[in-house]
């Protein structure tokens, strides 16, 4: 036998065991070859498979294993050495690959496992999100429903519509079987069925309000599930099957006065209505949480809408009322106007009609007085005259007062001499005062302007009235009249809160105080004094003969002059003080042509107004010197004439009371002379008064004179009367500067 280099198998091939091994190996090989095929097939199919490399490795491992088993088939019979070596190669390779694969798997398997856990996690997450989505959707749904409901509710301001709409919409949204609203009755002890969804006109079911269920519902602001057997829920005839679930919620009824933003939910007066909602029977539906929330929200909205409606009703009512009142007022005003017009016409006519006979009576009685009369006749005529004068005054007063009341009286403003007014009053009152042996004194403050702008006649009337009253009501003693410019602080405390003086540059407030030591006035009566026709009977003034209008008129005049008048008295028998403050305008510097420089005071026209008054006249101009001398001689002065400043200084002595200097001549330093005279006479009472005489001047010159120390300045030409009054004023006040 030739050596075939074959390897014999260890066991005979016909052995049964060998046969089975042969078959198993065959199948293994088959399986091992088909696994990678399957793998490849499925991997190709799937889009994602991250472990390709592993797959290749695994495939290789499997293929080689299969190859090994396949080749093993040949080793069951006698086989050549080649086969054996192939077999060996295959095995070696397989061993290598499988070891590598085993090592690889150590890394791979944990990854694969974690993929699994992640998958589980994601699935859970997805489920959770799904749940939440469901929730959000339901919430959104609820919100939409609420908005829609609110919109429906708010689209009207009519109470009934609001409620009806609420019920309808709720019923629609929640698919309710029945929805009802119970309102509290007027007494507040019962709930009355007011609105339902299905029944059109609910018959007036009432339920007492103090039911435990109702209390429970009212005490919470949430929707509460109640039993279908509760009296409020028994609206339908007893159900066929299971009645649906019922929910009740309170609807706060807001009163107008409850609108305090801070305590909106907590209301002091708790009036609630009850809203009952019933799910359809036989539906086995349950009330979901979001549905309950919806119901609560709607209940609140309804409350708001109802209160809006209530406010609107209220305001409409108020407006109607106002309109009615307007119409009534208009009518009243027109009637009043007609009445005033009628009165004015009447007064106008009566005025004329009344005055004409009055004039006749007065005129003729005074004429009668002049004729020859017996004493009794004279007495009678005097009485007639007095009475008719009184009557005339009364008529005038009444007319004035009525004109004052309408506001149709206007002041006659003009420039007048304030001092003169006071002097006139004094002169008018002096006779009466002296008869009663009353002493009257007048004090005018030095800073009181001489000229003022105002209504002279009425101011005098007012002052005269007050002074007259003072005289009238004083039996003895003295009356003092003071007048000065009121300063701001004295103005403020004039006891009249509505008197607000306003100071400005060209006005001033004149304050006049008339103090008497007469019978005084009870302080309680003082407010009545200024009311017309109210006479003070108690203080024995029966024979005063006044009409009671005087003070009323005064007050009105004073008011027109934007002032204030009041009376102070400490009591009966303690005299009283009348104080009046009026606003007057400051007079512009008056030039001579407007106001003749004639004081109203009757000056003595005697020749020797200033007997023996020693006067020095200095004037360079002979003619004017002579003229001035003539003037002064006429007035009785003892005149010394000088023609130059040196002569003047030489001759001037303390005997001279006044020195007149002509300063308009250039070349005479009048200011120098002034200064030197001042130096010569250090004592004030020794120094003569220095007056400048000048033909033309201006403010500057006047100021220079003042500054140099002159006591006066007069403009040439000087008339006799002017000189007289200048000297009077000069000697009285020791200063006189003529108005430029």
């Amino acid at each position: 036998m030739e050596s075939c280099n074959c390897i014999e198998p260890q066991w005979p091939p016909d052995d049964l065991l060998m046969k089975y091994q042969y078959i198993s190996d065959f199948f293994i090989a088959l399986a091992y070859f088909s696994i990678p095929l399957e793998l490849i097939y499925f991997v190709k199919k799937s889009a994602v498979f991250p472990y390709r490399w592993v797959l290749v490795q695994f495939g290789a491992f499997i293929v080689l294993c299969g190859a090994t088993h396949l080749i093993n088939l040949w080793t069951f019979t006698v086989h050549s050495r080649t086969v054996a070596s192939v077999m060996t190669t295959a095995k070696v390779l397989t061993a290598a690959v499988s070891c590598i694969t085993a090592l690889m798997l150590v890394h791979i398997i944990p990854d694969l496992l974690s993929v699994k856990t992640r998958e589980l996690f994601l699935k859970n997450k997805a489920a959770e999100l799904d749940r939440e989505m469901g929730l959000i959707r339901t919430q959104e749904e609820t919100g939409r429903h609420v908005r829609m409901l609110t919109h429906e509710i708010r689209s009207t301001l009519d109470r009934h519509t609001i409620l009806k709409t609420t019920l309808v919409e709720l019923g629609r949204t929640l698919a309710l079987e029945e929805c009802a609203l119970w309102m509290p009755t007027r007494t507040g002890l019962e709930l009355q069925l007011s609105y339902t969804l299905r029944q059109q006109n609910p018959v007036g079911y009432t339920v007492p309000i103090h039911h435990p269920v109702i209390n429970q519902v009212f005490s919470s602001n949430r929707a509460v599930k109640i039993s279908p057997n509760c009296p409020v829920a028994r609206l339908r005839p007893a159900g066929k099957y299971m009645p649906g679930e019922v929910v009740a919620v309170r609807v706060p009824l807001l009163h107008l006065s409850n609108f305090h933003i801070n305590d909106w939910p907590e209301l002091s007066t708790k009036r609630y209505a009850l809203m009952v909602l019933m799910l359809p029977s036989d539906s086995a539906r349950q009330w979901h949480v979001h549905e309950l929330e919806l119901v609560e929200v709607v209940a609140d909205q309804v409350a708001v809408a109802l209160s809006h409606a209530a406010i609107l009703e209220e305001s409409m009512r108020a407006r109607d009322l106002l309109m009615e009142q307007n119409v009534a007022l208009d009518l009243a005003r027109r009637e009043a106007e007609t009445a005033i017009r009628a009165r004015n016409d009447f007064l106008a006519v009566m005025n004329h009609e009344m005055r004409t006979p009055m004039h006749a009576i007065i005129a003729l009685s005074s004429l009668l007085q002049e004729t020859e009369l017996t004493p009794e006749q004279r007495l009678m005529v005097e009485t007639i005259l007095k009475s008719s004068n009184l009557l005339a005054t009364l008529i005038n007063d009444v007319l004035d007062l009525s004109r004052l009341e309408d506001g149709s009286l206007q002041l006659d403003l003009g420039t007048f001499n304030l001092y003169a007014v006071f002097r006139e009053v004094l002169n008018l009152i002096k006779p009466i005062a002296s008869v009663k042996k009353l002493h009257v004194s007048l004090t005018l403050a030095p800073d009181l302007p001489e000229y003022a702008i105002g209504d002279e006649k009425r101011l005098m009337q007012t002052i005269l009235n007050i002074v007259g009253n003072a005289v009238k009501f004083s039996k003895e003693g003295s009356i003092s009249i003071t007048a000065f410019v009121a300063k701001l602080d004295t103005l403020r405390d004039s006891k009249a809160p509505e008197f607000l003086p306003v100071l400005s540059d060209n006005i001033f407030y004149l304050r006049v105080q008339v103090k008497d030591s007469g019978s005084g006035i009870n302080p309680l009566d003082i407010p009545k004094l200024f009311t017309k026709f109210a006479q003070n009977q108690s203080t024995g003034t029966r024979n005063s003969g006044g009409s009671g209008l005087g003070l009323a008129i005064c007050k009105r005049f004073v008011n027109l002059m934007e002032g204030h008048i009041w009376i102070e008295s400490e009591g009966l028998g303690k005299g009283c003080t009348a104080i009046l403050i009026v606003k007057l305008g400051m007079a512009e510097r008056v030039n001579e042509s407007k106001l003749p420089y004639m004081p109203k005071m009757p000056t003595n026209h005697g020749q020797t107004a200033f007997p023996g008054l020693k006067v020095l006249v200095m004037d360079e101009n002979g003619v004017s010197r002579m003229v001035t001398k003539g003037l002064l001689l006429h007035l009785g002065c003892d005149v010394t004439m000088v023609g130059s400043s040196d002569e003047c200084l030489r001759l001037v002595s303390h005997e001279h009371k006044v020195v007149f200097m002509d300063i308009c001549v250039p070349g005479i330093d009048s200011y120098g002379i002034t200064i030197r005279i001042h130096e010569k006479f250090t004592k004030r009472h020794e120094r003569p008064l220095l007056v400048a005489l000048t033909g033309n001047t201006d403010k500057v010159k006047k100021e220079n004179c003042m500054r140099a120390g002159m006591d006066g300045l007069i403009l040439k030409p000087v008339s006799l009367d002017k000189m007289r009054s200048v000297l009077t004023d000069l000697l009285e006040h020791r200063v006189f500067f003529e108005a430029i």
Binding site: N621, V623, S624, L631
Partner: protein, 153 residues
């Protein structure tokens, strides 16, 4: 009596005309009022003083303005001022008005103007002098006839 009345009436008319024509103004009336028993010739005295003054001043001004080299306007002005004062004291209205114009020319140092004014002043002054002398003559006549000088308002 008739004569006196006639003279008085004449006097009044003449006075009124003087006032109307602007020769005299209120100041003169005042002066006339000043005349009384204590000073019977007050007005006449004042008037004569005035005339003296006037003439002196006018001469001064004429001399000053004639200076060919450099007129001393200050002096002229001073004289005019004096004249103005005198005339206003006596009530010579027209003279005073001319003086006012004269002064402005002096200030402007206008020789021509000044000369013209001087002429005017002289003219007015002589007019016034004549008129016043006539008036005083009337007065004397009234007094001589035994009447009293009426006061003209």
């Amino acid at each position: 009596m008739d004569v006196v009345n006639q003279l008085q009436r004449q006097f009044i008319d003449y006075s009124a005309s003087l006032h109307r024509e602007g020769f005299l103004d209120d100041q003169f009336t005042q002066l006339q009022k000043r005349q009384d028993d204590n000073s019977p010739d007050f007005v006449v005295e004042v008037a004569s003083l005035f005339f003296e003054d006037c003439e002196k001043l006018i001469n001064n001004m004429a001399r000053a303005l004639e200076q060919q080299q450099g007129v001393d306007f200050k002096q002229v002005d001073a004289s005019v001022h004096q004249l103005k004062g005198s005339s206003s004291s006596i009530g010579a209205m027209r003279v005073k008005d001319v003086c006012i114009a004269f002064r402005s020319f002096c200030e402007a140092q206008n020789r021509e103007g000044c000369l013209r004014c001087l002429q005017q002043v002289t003219h007015e002054y002589s007019l016034l002098k004549n008129k016043l002398q006539t008036l005083f003559r009337l007065q004397q006549q009234i007094l001589a006839a035994g009447g009293s000088i009426p006061v003209v308002e």
